[in-house]
Every structure is written in C-alpha cells, then in structure tokens.
Symmetry: C2
C-alpha cells in the first residue's frame, strides 16, 4: 500500500472498493482533491443545496449527483459512492446509527448525494508555501471549534459555523491568507485571524472536535470555515436519513486541486 | 431623472416603484451590481438551482429568496421584487403572456425568486481598463448568440449555452480576459476567443438576440457566457409559470460590483 500516496485516484478507489483500504485518506493521491460526502432524501435536497449556496465558505459544492445516482460525473467518472469511501456513517433522525464500509444496503432511489470541498487541498498549498502545519508536526487531529456565528439558514437547515484552527507565525499570516484565498472551492481565505473570543470560543485549548495543538510565542490562531459545518447543521435538522463519510475517510476525486 | 446615474440604488428603486422610471436600467447607479430576475414555482426550484450550480458561468446565483418572499435580504434590504423592476414578463408554459409593470397580481406563496449576475458589472471594468465596447460606441443592443454547446442538464432544465460577443483588438484580448476573470459572479472570463464556428455560430453578422456590431481589422470576436441562458433554458422547459424582468430592465441591487 505504500505507493498509494502517488497512485492515481482510480487505483485508490479500486483498492477501497475491494476492501483493501479502510483507513483515513489523508496523504493519499497527492495533488488530487478529496471531498466530503453528504447524502439526503430528495425532499430535503432543495433546502440543503440552498443552505450551501447561502454559505459558500463552509459549504463549497463540488458536485450534486442526479436523484438516485451514486455515480459522480464531474469529479470521478466510473466511481460508485456506495463503495468507494473507506468508511461511512448512517444517521437516522440526526442520531448516529452505524458505521459501515458499504452503502448498497442503505441506498434508495430518492437519495441525492452531495460532494463538498475539503481543506486537504489547501494544506498541501500551505506546506508548499513554507507555512508550518502544527497538527501534522504534532501528529494530532486538527483542532475544530463550534463558533457563535450563525450560518445563513435555509428552510430546515440552520446552525453555527464550524471552523478549523491552525497556529501561524505572525510574519506568515498574510501569506497563509494569500495562498488559501486561491482555493474558494475548499473553504478559501480564513474567516477570522487572532481572537478566539470574537468567534465565541471560550478555551482555545479545548476544541469541540479533534485535538488541541501547541500555539507558540509569536504565533496567532487562524480560523478557516470547516467542512464539518454542513454535516453538523444537517444532523441538527434531524433528517429521517443522512449518509456521510466517516471523519477523515474522504472520497478521493479525479480532479487535481489546481483544477477546482 | 438625469441624476439617476449617480443616485443610490434605493432611490432608483423608489422611483421605479412609483412608476417614474419604465426604461432600461443600463447606466443607472454607476458602480452597483444589477441582476437578472427569474421566478419559478417551488416544485421547480430545486432543478433550477441545481442547473445554476452545474452551469455557474452562464448562471451565477447572487441570491435565492425564501419561498413566497419578494424581499431580497443580501442584495437589497427593503426592496420588493414585485414592484422594483421597471418592466416584467409573464410566461405561461414557456409562452410570453404579458409584459407588466407590477407583479402583485401574479405573485403566489409558492414562488421562489432567483437573482442572477448580469454583465453590466464587467463592462464598467472593461471600459476602465481602456477596452472599447463597440455596442455602446455604436449605440446598439449587444450581440447575443445561441451556441451549439449544451449546458449541463439538471432535471427538467436543459438547453444551449447563450453567449454575448464583444469585438476586442488583438493586443487587448489578454487584458479583457484578465479583467473579466475577476468577476466570476457576473459570468467571469470569456468562454471562447476568436472562432464563431467553434461555437456553432454560422453568421456572426446575424445574432440571435440584439444587433450586429462592426468587427474591425485587427479585432477578434470574444464570447462570454450570457445571462439570457437561464431564462432561455427555463422557457424551453415550459414551466406552468415563470416571471422575469424584461430584457435590459434589470433589478438594481445595493451591492457594489466590487463586493460580488
């Protein structure tokens, strides 16, 4: 499996489909975009798509599949969203019911699959620009916080903006903004720089998801809109059924990050 | 009325609402974005929003209003889409039924209003960059063509890409691309440069909408995705009811072009 970092996404998806890869996808298929997956019944799809349209920073839509189809057209021809993600979650009425490795038993003709941008893309660009990524240095899961900022609601979908945080040296903050602003389809420029309290974050050392990382002297916390937002909001709406990827187990697409 | 070129959009909308301005809106409220209007029943709104998501160059979504609401939130607080456009069109089953100056009699609780980007914005930027706008020089309606390129379909909505054409001197083409690429919410960079036949345009001197303009020696035709596309496609789908602005009679928003 060592070669999966440089393998083509098609090969990686084939390995996943055959049950040979059940782990997180970070670092796989370097240079290719990975995506969040959210699947909802058709009668909720308009409100969810409108929620994404109104909140493009946390919810950048990469592709919406036709009703009932598990086959992406633009992001990965020949793929099957029921089998090509290493681990899935099944939510009923907002509650986690199961983690599964295949969605065939849960798929329905009235389901709509959404692929949303993921910040893996701009992390590679940040690293290329010489900006340190503390959670990677310290081998922790990135720090993620629920803020006091409300997203713009749409129908049944409403809730707070969720952000990821990376500590950045003061003299690299402008560069970090510049680099990530180039990738609006994977959350783009930061939503806030420097003051956790302005986002309603009481204790930066206690993230709501993931793990805390060290913020060194001369660094400030920089906050980006996070792909957890749409799933968190969708769960809060308690739809009768929602299927998603399991955290960090993303869908690997055929599009290069620079094509987004 | 001479001062409407520099008036605030609120003032212009008030004049329109009071019936004092029934003409095209080009040149009004310099620097502020103007928008295409399309209103459809809720049961068609998901397919139409998805069509826009899949075809962002011809169909850049500026705002989708809540079901039944004629009051934009983001683009123009306090406005009323039933009265603040100088001239409307009412389509039934894809056929033009009437042109009216007020939509109150046609409004329904199940209608969804879409505001879509309009190329007025990047024309000001092109002019600022010293790029000639032939249709303005020659006082003609801009040349618009139906192409042989099909949009990505979504549900009942499918049809050809419609483009506007501006002749640009060869040594200014790169600049024209650079300038318009900065405005993805109003159609962005050109979709094609130089060869009408590549778009299925048989005779550049005979546009499908608007009027022909002179293409001088040393100029090439440059084609941009056009805001007529979503309306043309929506009409082709023959929805039971669709309300729109009349051509060139746009909705004037409170957002500056540079805020888009």
């Amino acid at each position: 499996m060592q070669n999966l970092a440089t393998a083509h996404p098609r090969e990686i998806r084939a390995q996943i489909r055959e049950g040979k890869w059940r782990r997180p996808t970070g670092g796989l298929a370097a240079g290719y975009a990975q995506a969040n997956l959210a699947v909802l019944p058709r009668d909720l799809a308009y409100d969810f798509l409108l929620f994404c349209q109104r909140n493009p920073k946390p919810c950048p839509v990469l592709e919406v599949l036709d009703v009932g189809s598990p086959h992406p057209v633009r992001m990965a021809a020949g793929a099957d969203l029921r089998s090509d993600v290493p681990l899935y979650r099944v939510y009923r009425s907002g509650e986690l019911e199961a983690e599964v490795t295949d969605l065939h038993d849960h798929w329905r003709e009235d389901l709509v699959a959404f692929l949303l941008g993921c910040s893996f893309s701009f992390e590679a660009a940040l690293a290329s620009a010489g900006i340190p990524l503390r959670h990677i240095e310290e081998e922790r899961t990135i720090s993620v916080y629920i803020t006091s900022i409300q997203c713009v609601p749409a129908g049944m979908f409403a809730g707070p903006l969720v952000v990821s945080m990376r500590p950045i040296p003061l003299d690299r903050v402008a560069k970090a903004v510049e680099v990530t602003a180039r990738y609006p389809m994977v959350h783009g420029a930061p939503v806030h720089i420097g003051d956790p309290a302005a986002l309603g974050i009481v204790d930066i050392a206690r993230p709501d998801y993931g793990e805390a990382v060290t913020i060194r002297e001369g660094e400030v916390p920089v906050f980006w809109a996070c792909g957890v937002t749409p799933q968190a909001v969708a769960r809060q709406a308690r739809p009768e059924l929602m299927l998603t990827h399991a955290p960090a187990h993303m869908f690997v697409t055929d599009l290069r990050n620079d094509e987004l």
